[in-house]
Amino acid sequence: MVRNILTGPRCLLFFLLLLLGVHVTGCPAPVRMPPGTVPVTEIPPSEGKRLDAPEDPRTLAAMNLTEQGRMLLERGRVDEAISLFERAANISPANGRNCFYLAEAWILKGDLYQAREWNRLAEIYLREDGAWMEKVLVQKKRIKKRENGFSP
């Protein structure tokens, strides 16, 4: 008889019932929901692309502006560079390199508070990028030194 069950067509049914049983007893009971009240039980799903997805065209467009800004920064055209970094930040708010260069620009302008805040944001967004993180930390030290009254 046992053999029949395990080998016969009822085998599939048996396993399905078994699976169902395990599922029902192993799961937490559904949340009690009195009528007309509160449905929220979980953190909302984190749907959507990551804010700094590197392959994203939005990120690429922002990087284009960041690069233009960087070149202006190198030529000492700080205000114009900041304008481009701002636009890049609007397109891709979590563009860590853009935050880094914004911090650089504010160092050049002598506003160390702004520099520190952008450096902090760069630190958040670039923490998985070893090479860039190194730059961010060096920048952080530089800002701190300046805040303490040392010139570079």
Partner: protein, 769 residues
């Protein structure tokens, strides 16, 4: 006899000497007078000759592959930027062609402070309302970013309300110069400021016709009259005009006088604005710079000087053409055009380009901008120096916001007759502000339903109770002690408030005695929120609000938790930006740059950020406010077509006087307010009155929706906890578990105290934090 003769000679000599002395004195006096007049003229002309209004521009538009677009608003935008639709491939600047999925544009030259670019042609492939690629036609280069020039929004006029584009004499084509001279003063290059032949000819013509048909004034006299003299017709004034004209001719060359004249003359009326000078008039009548005027157009323009309104092609095309033809024939008779050129021009009809009347675009935004500018700039300079102000405004977003508000308010009135009012000034009102949270750029501002009816800006000037839209600041303050899974009491309680007893109520009854913090915020539970506020500390909440820079007075009363104290909507939007910008608060930015009349950069304004909360707390708040949209009071957004990740908070005040929704993504934030100015109830909550307007707006501006969400900072952890106790869930023991995020500093570390032994230990209900 001899003596008599001598006497006569002596008298004659004396008379001669006297006359000579008198003449010399008169000449001296005249010379002195002319010298004085030329000094007056020189002084006037060495200073600024004209007041040129400042121009306010929108921000430039960025387009890039992968960006979703609203084709309709983009088309409108390009049309407003004077791109002309053509059927062939665009070959000249300012042309565009839409062909199925392909948009081809020959861009205008781009001229902004410190940024200049010659126009070029691009092909933009648009697939399923998303830009698939942008390719530069001439080089075949694929572009990752394309910038479209800013749009003119309005002009800041002085008291004269004159619009003028200054041109140099070298820019003016010869046929226009000669057409003006032919029409007004054909002997301009021959006389010295006055023209006796001209006067006699005018006199003869006028006597012959028995009416004043022709004036004898030269261009120089006309100029003097406009600049220095009053319009009355007296001999004294006429004499002064004569002498000043002579003085002017002595001081300036003919070309200098003609240049001043061509920039000075009144040529059209555009609503309440006078269009002056050939530069501006050329654009007004023919939609092109003066350099590109044809002979026929130049003649039509010259004909207009006599009576800009009478001969305007917009008023009477036939009369305009007759006058133009007369000018052309005068040109021919003076030998300044060939018979062939004249015939060719005579055959061309007068075709004005059409113009848009100066409607005030984004009027509330402009008012706000202008109200802020005197702090930094002299108002006289703003209305006279021809400055260019580049703002953060996005005209596509502005239009979408205006339309969404208008449609939303009309819909509310249709749905509920009690909201309808007869008087325009009493009608249901609304306001919207749209910002980019990271930088504080104000993209759009609609301060009311109809600017013509009320100029009161409900975004920057109104003070209204935020209701539940204030609750996030209570929950944020509580995050130091409480977690999203903390259980809050939902029992009715009374509180002492300034010596009175106050008992909060829920708008919709909630059956549970206890709610998690996440649930309480999502469904906007009043009882649990006040309970949380009192346990957190009302002073601490007040300090949080002050740290977020609410400028209106707040009091540490329990009702503070329910938004009973008034706020300025712009300040509320700015405060919400802090969550969306991961803890840093931007200053609202409305102006980016200022340039002088030659395009030289005078000033750049930058975003300034200040950290208000840690990125971790901001992330938790974003998650809590996301629940409002996924499962709370704003959950209907999904059915309204909002499928991208968003967060926000609804708000409704006592007796439904105000309805709010402040919603955001990492890229954009919009605040919507609906209410009556006099505080009448609107019989609807924020989720019914304000939320649909927000949804409508967001659907119209897909270019700002990236579909991205925030990245979880390292100091935020995810744990599965027992819903009943809030402790770490014990597998197969806790009957109700929930996965939740926590600040790592106060994440639960102990297993559920209620079910850790495999069953409830009977120690009593849930643990509150």
């Amino acid at each position: 006899m001899e003596t008599k003769e001598k006497e006569t000679r002596g008298t004659g000599k004396r008379l001669f000497l006297l006359s000579a002395a008198a003449l010399a004195s008169a000449a001296l006096l005249l010379g002195a007078y002319l010298w004085h007049l030329s000094a007056v003229i020189d002084e006037r002309f060495s200073a600024r000759r004209w007041s040129v209004p400042s121009t306010i521009y929108s921000d430039s538009t960025l387009l890039f592959p992968g960006q979703r677009i609203n084709e309709e608003t983009l088309r409108d935008k390009l049309r407003r930027l004077a791109y002309r639709v053509v059927t062939a491939e665009p070959g000249r600047t300012g042309e565009m062609r839409w062909q199925g999925n392909l948009l081809e544009i020959f861009l205008h030259d781009f001229d902004m402070p410190s940024k200049r670019r010659d126009g070029f042609s691009v092909k933009m492939d648009i697939q399923d309302r998303e830009i698939a690629s942008i390719v530069r036609t001439d080089t075949g280069e694929t572009l990752s970013l394309l910038e479209i020039e800013p749009e003119e929004i309005t002009l800041l006029f002085g008291a004269e309300r004159e619009q003028r584009e200054l041109v140099s004499i070298n820019q003016v084509p010869a046929h226009l110069k000669y057409a003006v001279i032919a029409a007004e003063d054909s002997r301009f290059y021959e006389h010295h400021g006055f023209d006796v032949r001209g006067i006699l000819r005018a006199l003869y013509t006028n006597i012959r016709h028995g009416e004043v048909r022709q004036g004898g004034s030269t261009l120089t006299q006309q100029l003097v009259k406009n600049y220095f003299l009053t319009p009355e017709r007296t001999l004294k004034r006429k004499l002064k005009e004569f002498f000043m004209a002579v003085a002017m001719e002595l001081t300036y060359s003919k070309d200098e006088i003609l240049e001043i004249y061509l920039n000075e003359i009144y040529l059209a009326q555009k609503g309440s604005i006078a269009v002056c000078g050939v530069g501006e008039a050329s654009r007004f009548y023919f939609g092109k710079p003066v350099e590109r005027l044809s002979l026929a157009e130049a003649a039509a323009m010259a004909g207009l000087i006599k009576g800009p309104n009478r001969y305007s092609p917009y008023e009477n095309a036939k009369r305009c053409r007759e006058r133009r033809d007369w000018v052309l024939r005068e040109l021919l008779s003076n030998g300044w055009v060939s018979p062939e050129a004249c015939d060719e021009a005579l055959a061309v009809p007068v075709e004005p380009a059409g113009y848009a009347a100066y409607g005030k675009k984004a009027p509330y935004f402009i008012d706000y901008l202008v109200s802020q500018l005197p702090v930094y700039y002299d108002p006289d300079d703003l209305s006279s120096r021809g400055l260019s102000l580049f703002t953060t405004l996005d005209t596509q977003v502005q239009k979408a916001a205006e339309e969404a508000l208008d449609a939303g308010l009309k819909q509310l009135e249709r749905n509920n007759p009690a909201l309808r009012r007869r008087e325009d000034g009493e009608k249901l009102q609304g306001a919207i502000v749209v910002m980019q949270p990271r930088t504080g750029y104000i993209l759009a501002m609609v301060g009311g339903r109809d600017y013509a009816v009320s100029q009161f800006n409900r975004i920057t000037q109104a003070k209204r109770q935020p209701g539940s839209a204030f609750k996030p600041f209570v929950y944020l303050t509580a995050l130091d002690r409480f977690t999203p899974s903390s259980i809050l009491s939902n029992e009715t309680r009374s509180y002492d408030m300034d010596g009175r007893t106050w008992q909060p109520r829920n708008t919709h009854p909630v059956a549970e005695d206890g709610l998690t913090l996440r649930q309480a915020l999502a469904v906007s539970d009043n009882l649990a929120t006040v309970d949380l506020a009192v346990r957190t500390g009302l002073l601490r909440i007040m300090n949080t609000a002050m740290n977020f820079r609410f400028s209106t007075p707040l009091k540490p009363w329990p009702s503070l938790a329910l938004g009973a104290f008034e706020v300025i909507p712009l300040e509320l939007a700015r405060a919400f930006c802090t969550f969306a910008a991961e803890g840093v608060q931007p200053n609202p930015l409305f102006m980016r740059a200022l340039a002088d009349e030659n395009g030289n950069l005078l000033e750049k304004r930058h975003l300034k950020i200040e950290r208000r909360v840690s990125p971790e707390k901001a992330y938790v708040m974003n998650s809590l406010l996301r629940s409002v949209v996924t499962e709370g009071t704003a959950r209907s957004l999904l059915s309204m077509g909002i499928s991208f990740p968003a967060a926000g908070k609804t708000g409704t005040t006592n007796d439904n006087r105000d309805a709010w929704f402040v919603g955001y993504t990492p890229d954009i934030l919009a605040l919507v307010w609906v209410g009556f100015d006099n505080g009448d109830p609107i019989h609807a909550e924020g989720s019914v009155a304000a939320l649909p307007i927000w949804a409508d707006l967001m659907k119209s501006i897909p270019q700002y929706v990236s579909g991205r969400w925030f990245r979880q900072p390292p100091d935020v952890v995810t744990r599965t906890v027992c819903r009943e106790s809030g402790g770490l869930a014990v597998p197969n023991a806790c009957p109700e578990t929930v996965t939740e995020i926590f600040l790592s500093k106060n994440a639960p570390g102990e297993p559920c105290p209620v079910h850790r032994h495999g069953h409830a230990d009977g120690m009593g209900g849930g643990v509150t934090w």
